[in-house]
């Protein structure tokens, strides 16, 4: 349903140009969960912004259900890393979720959808709080609820758990796995955390150092539902995470050896 074809993104022109992403090809199937990992400095976020239609690619294109993405399409939502800047501090939790929906339909329906999404992320009872009255993990739950209530076909997540503590992170990972089934969304997750990518994904796409291209794609055949303890204790999980780790580190080692 989502196709990235020969996508490149450079900043600047001529000799001084920075080539962040080069010739990325990627297919995401309906209801698939794809994790994108890569060494730090790889153009993961750049790639995600290009897919979302927030950045114009230098070459290539993204197609969502066959249509070329030039602006963020209505069937796509994004969860950003920085929840405190992504939520509007002057709106209550409920109104933060309702605001994007009032483009699409009536207010009463929007409020119902907002409350349903808030219940799904375990924040029923916090409708009238302001974001800054909540902990970081709870704020990111609000951002996730807002994305879900928008009823996207594709949910893009840009390092969504990088700013919360380890325990909250595990909770949010499981939350996302649960609600994506409940709401039937396709997910593309950008993360620098290899364990997280393997634990959550159906497929892990490994980007190279910049100019980043797809270095390798790994199918993750771990049983679902996944479990923080049981899944991570499986030999297959260990094998996959080592494989991803080696792939990311390989070019770095070669560079050092040279």
């Amino acid at each position: 349903m989502l196709e990235v074809v020969g996508l490149s993104k450079s900043y600047g022109t001529g000799a001084k140009a920075t080539h962040a992403v080069a010739q990325v090809d990627l297919r995401v199937e309906e209801l698939e969960f794809v994790g994108i990992v890569g060494p730090s400095g790889a153009g993961k976020t750049t790639l995600l912004k290009c897919i979302a239609g927030l950045l114009a690619p230098t070459a290539g294109e993204t197609r969502l259900r066959g249509r070329v993405v030039t602006e963020p399409p209505p069937e796509l939502a994004v969860v950003f890393q920085d929840y405190s800047r992504s939520l509007f501090p002057w709106l209550t939790v409920r109104r933060n979720i309702v605001l994007p929906l009032t483009n699409k339909g009536s207010t009463a329906a929007a409020v119902a959808a907002a409350d349903e999404a808030l219940t799904a992320v375990g924040l029923a009872g916090f409708e009238d709080h302001y974001p800054w009255q909540l902990s970081g993990g709870m704020q990111q739950r609000v951002a996730i609820a807002r994305a879900l209530a928008y009823q996207p076909k594709v949910l893009l997540m840009d390092e969504p758990f990088a700013s919360v503590d380890a325990q909250t992170r595990a909770e949010l990972e499981d939350l996302v796995l649960r609600v994506r089934e409940q709401f039937g969304v396709t997910v593309v997750l950008v993360t620098h955390d290899i364990d997280e990518a393997v634990y959550m994904s159906d497929r892990v796409v490994i980007l190279s150092r910049p100019p980043s291209t797809v270095q390798e794609t790994l199918d993750v055949d771990l049983p679902r539902p996944r479990d923080q303890i049981e899944t991570k204790a499986l030999p297959e999980f260990a094998r996959l995470r080592s494989r991803v780790y080696e792939t990311i580190m390989e070019p770095a080692r070669e560079a050092v050896a040279r």
Partner: protein, 253 residues
């Protein structure tokens, strides 16, 4: 908690009462051509401002200030959005803006009188002209500093055009607009009084100046007292409005 607050309130009221008592005693004992006894000043205040001169002086003053201040807000916010949204406009306008806002406010009064006469227009124009800069520059900074993630969020969720301006950009810039408005409020009061002293036929500033010219020391001090109370009241009102509009900004204040 409540007891502590009551304690602070008692301290404030007590200190004010003590200062008033000291002033009372001092002015009664040291009456001169410049110093009117406090009871006389209060009596003059009652005679003049409750409410004989309210219609003839206070209302015109307040109307001028309100009009000038409102115009300053409109020009400041509009200009600030223009300056903040475009680097080209900002580069073109910044030397001019820098020059215009550096002109000492009082220096504008003589040309304003030549242009607009000694009526209300002069005061409104001068207040609007001088008070718009702090609002404009603060608004422009606020627009420039708009957070990229916040704007990206609006874009992803299809919040565009006027809805984006009204529901996302304006609230995000509002704290900066209010910061500029607070600075401008003090300037507006200052300019109102100055302009009424230099060229006017009514107004509180005119009244104070006339009282001084006629050696009506009690009336003069009564006018100063009214201006002080007016400024104090306007600042309180401003604070109340700001707290209401920016209540969500509480953690950052």
């Amino acid at each position: 908690m409540r007891r502590a607050r009551f304690g602070w309130l008692a301290l404030e009221v007590g200190a004010t009462a003590a200062i008033v008592a000291l002033l009372w005693a001092y002015t009664v004992a040291n009456e001169s051509y410049a110093v009117a006894p406090l009871p006389d000043v209060l009596d003059a205040f009652r005679r003049t401002w409750l409410f004989a001169h309210v219609g003839s002086d206070v209302v015109p003053s307040l109307v001028r200030m309100t009009l000038g201040y409102a115009a300053a807000i409109a020009i400041g916010v509009g200009g600030g959005f223009l300056l903040g949204s475009s680097a080209v406009v900002s580069a073109l306008a910044s030397p001019v803006v820098g020059f215009l806002r550096s002109i000492p406010a009082a220096a504008l009064l003589p040309p304003a009188i030549v242009l607009f006469g000694i009526g209300g227009t002069t005061k409104v124009a001068v207040i609007a002209f001088v008070c718009c800069w702090p609002i404009m520059l603060n608004t422009a900074d606020g627009v420039r500093e708009l957070d990229a993630t916040m704007l990206a969020t609006a874009r992803v969720y299809g919040i565009r055009g006027l809805r984006r301006l009204r529901l996302v950009v304006l609230p995000a810039v509002a704290p900066r607009i209010f910061a500029g408005m607070r600075t401008s409020l003090s300037i507006a009061i200052l300019l109102l009084v100055t302009s009424e002293m230099i060229a006017s036929t009514n107004g509180i500033g005119y009244f104070v100046f006339q009282a001084q010219q006629q050696f009506a020391v009690g009336d003069m001090w009564a006018g100063v007292l009214l201006l002080g109370l007016l400024g104090f009241g306007l600042n309180l009102l401003f604070g109340a409005v700001e707290r209401r509009v920016l209540h969500w900004n509480a953690p950052n204040v």
